[in-house]
């Protein structure tokens, strides 16, 4: 089932939760709504589900206007952050609930219900817990049951509201991979909300980055990570270094550092900000003729396959320390210790001229 959202707006008092949102979710796609809290992503999801009504705009399922359809008639599966399992029912009854409350004529018989529920419990690999109660299960197990319960009614669309938000890091990672696999097997149109960029990058087919009730960028994980559309997306997705500089006639300056900026041939001494990912920072011990920024090693974190360096810099060209990620081999080559002077230079950067940096976003 496809979902189309047209000019959707929602206001809570004076707070604009959604500001004229347009979005199309392709059939069988796994889409992530990513953004900081208050960006409107959960509101959007709840409006798609029918749990909230929009002030204006439309929601279309398979090109059919469903804006005013009742929740019951939308054929939507919903998974809540805090599971929302029915405490007074066994796991089996929880999953069977959606089938048992159907009108008598559409209700499957007991044997059919048994078969379907057992099948779903096997799908989420928890059939051995059928007779337990929700409070006897771990958080990860509960969320899998919540998913099985949502799938029991064979929804055309699956919506997940921060599905892994309440789980600890290890379980979250496992469930992410598991959800990805499940989606590959079932191909049900799914939308999930998250504020965890790593989760969105890892699981989703496409990512919708939201901020203050607007969509900042839509794209594949690769697109939004490699080609962020604006400073907000840049800062929200992954670690990034921010440099203040100037652009003038096809060239950019960060301090004494000159960089080619052929995209801006007409720029006349504009202030600009430049973003550099930590792995795009080159670190050298000595100046090799080319201009570079001098910095001092403030901290070394050498756990894992890469070494992360925190470098302090005298001028106020940057916001805080410069973060650089280098390989273990390179680290051994350089033989760095705390306090050493190094010279850094961005290998690749993205310029945004004339952007006054508001400094409000940290991810």
């Amino acid at each position: 089932m496809s979902i189309e959202i047209c000019a959707l707006s929602k206001q809570f008092g004076s707070f604009t939760a959604l500001n004229s949102i347009n979005l199309k979710v392709n059939p069988g796609e796994l889409l992530a709504l990513l953004g900081p809290s208050g960006s409107g992503k959960t509101t959007l999801l709840r409006i798609i589900a029918g749990l909230e009504t929009a002030d204006s705009g439309q929601v279309l399922f398979n090109q059919e206007n469903s804006t005013d359809k009742h929740i019951r008639d939308r054929h939507v599966g919903f998974v809540f952050q805090h599971y929302a399992l029915f405490r007074n029912m066994t796991i089996f009854e929880n999953v069977a609930f959606g089938l048992r409350v159907r009108p008598r004529k559409q209700r499957p018989n007991t044997r059919e219900i048994n078969r379907r529920v057992t099948e779903l419990l096997q799908l989420v690999q928890l059939d051995w817990l059928a007779d337990r109660y929700p409070h006897q299960l771990s958080g990860g197990q509960r969320q899998r049951i919540a998913l099985a319960r949502a799938l029991a009614v064979e929804p055309g669309v699956l919506l997940l509201d921060e599905p892994f938000g309440a789980l600890d890091a290890k379980v979250r990672k496992e469930l992410r991979a598991w959800l990805r696999k499940l989606h590959n097997d079932m191909h049900i149109t799914s939308v999930f909300v998250t504020h965890d960029q790593e989760e969105a990058l890892e699981v989703a087919d496409r990512i919708v980055v939201m901020n203050r009730g607007r969509i900042e960028q839509i794209g594949t994980p690769n697109e939004v990570y490699e080609k962020p559309a604006n400073p907000f997306v840049y800062e929200f997705l992954g670690h990034v270094n921010l440099f203040h500089g100037r652009v003038h006639q096809g060239h950019a300056w960060i301090g004494d550092l000159e960089i080619d900026a052929p995209e801006y041939p007409e720029a006349e001494d504009l202030s600009a900000i430049a973003y550099v990912r930590p792995h795009d920072i080159e670190v050298e011990r000595t100046l090799n003729g080319e201009p570079a920024l001098a910095a001092y090693v403030a901290h070394i974190l050498s756990i894992g396959p890469v070494v992360r360096l925190e470098l302090t810099h005298g001028d106020d060209l940057t916001q805080g320390a410069i973060h650089a990620t280098i390989s273990k081999e390179r680290f051994r080559e350089l033989q760095l210790v705390k306090g050493d002077q190094v010279f850094v230079k961005p290998r690749r950067l993205d310029l945004f001229p004339n952007h006054a940096h508001n400094g409000s976003i940290h991810s």
Partner: protein, 277 residues
């Protein structure tokens, strides 16, 4: 003793238990045991005659029957009132909420006189009910009305916080799975409030059994018809039949205790079933 005592990080187990027992003894056990001791002055046949006299048996029937009926009605309407107070915003909600507690605070005799004045043949409501053949004042129905009045807050105040605690998400989840409002109430909300509802019922029931002040005015106290057991005890006391009064009191105590024990077991069972396997 040592088998009951488990090692705990909370200090003062002995002191707390000792104080609890002392307090319970002073306030509850000693006065109650006095009733048993006093009634022991009667021989067994005398005791049996005193507690099984037809007038006394009729009063048991009225007291327990009307109390049960009143508690049952309160359980239903109390749940409804609590639901409305929790779920719907409306003007004057605070005021209504405060009104609920009034039967707690009002001197019961005031309640009794007020109810009698309203339901008597020439009262505000009585004058319309009487022609319809419904007599409230000075009948068992009046007893029931008074007991319903005093029992209402118990159910509302026990159910209200539980209803407030039910997460909205549970109802949303049920709706998303296709349940109607009624199915959501029947399968999700009602099971969640049932333990609190039985507690409220038990409290209203217990209060009604012991009620005296509000009932005696509206009941009319006609022997065999509208005479409650507590009144009978007072009557015996006024006739200096202390032993007879305590004998009836002992029977009431035992029956009440058994009923409350049953309700408590029921409650434990409901709670157990809804939270554990």
């Amino acid at each position: 003793m040592s088998t009951f005592k488990q090692h705990s990080v909370l200090p003062g187990f002995n002191l707390a238990l000792g104080f609890t027992l002392l307090y319970l003894s002073l306030v509850v056990l000693i006065p109650l045991s006095a009733a048993f001791i006093y009634s022991a002055k009667l021989t067994w046949p005398e005791f049996w005659n005193a507690v099984t006299a037809p007038r006394v048996v009729a009063s048991y029937r009225l007291t327990f029957g009307a109390s049960f009926a009143a508690a049952a009605v309160n359980a239903f309407f109390g749940l409804l009132v609590a639901w409305v107070l929790v779920r719907y915003p409306f003007p004057g909600k605070r005021l209504v909420d405060a009104l609920i507690d009034l039967p707690f605070a009002l001197p019961t005799s005031v309640a009794g006189i007020t109810l009698t004045a309203i339901y008597a043949g020439n009262g505000w409501l009585g004058q319309y009910l009487e022609p319809l053949g419904i007599k409230v004042a000075f009948t068992p129905l009046g007893v029931f009305v008074a007991l319903t009045f005093i029992g209402l807050p118990f159910v509302v105040r026990t159910v209200q916080p539980v209803l407030e605690d039910i997460e909205k998400e549970l109802e949303e989840a049920a709706a998303m799975l296709g349940a109607t409002r009624w199915q959501t109430f029947r399968y999700i909300i009602f099971p969640a409030v049932l333990p609190a509802l039985t507690t409220g019922f038990a409290l209203a029931f217990a209060r009604a059994i012991g009620e005296y002040g509000s009932v005696i005015f509206i009941a009319g106290n006609i022997p065999m018809v509208s005479e409650i057991t507590p009144l009978l005890i007072i009557t015996k006391l006024e006739q200096y039949d202390y032993a007879g009064a305590t004998a009836i009191a002992v029977v009431m105590l035992v029956i009440s205790f058994i009923l409350l024990l049953i309700i408590n077991l029921l409650q434990w069972w409901v709670r157990h079933r809804s939270t554990k396997a």
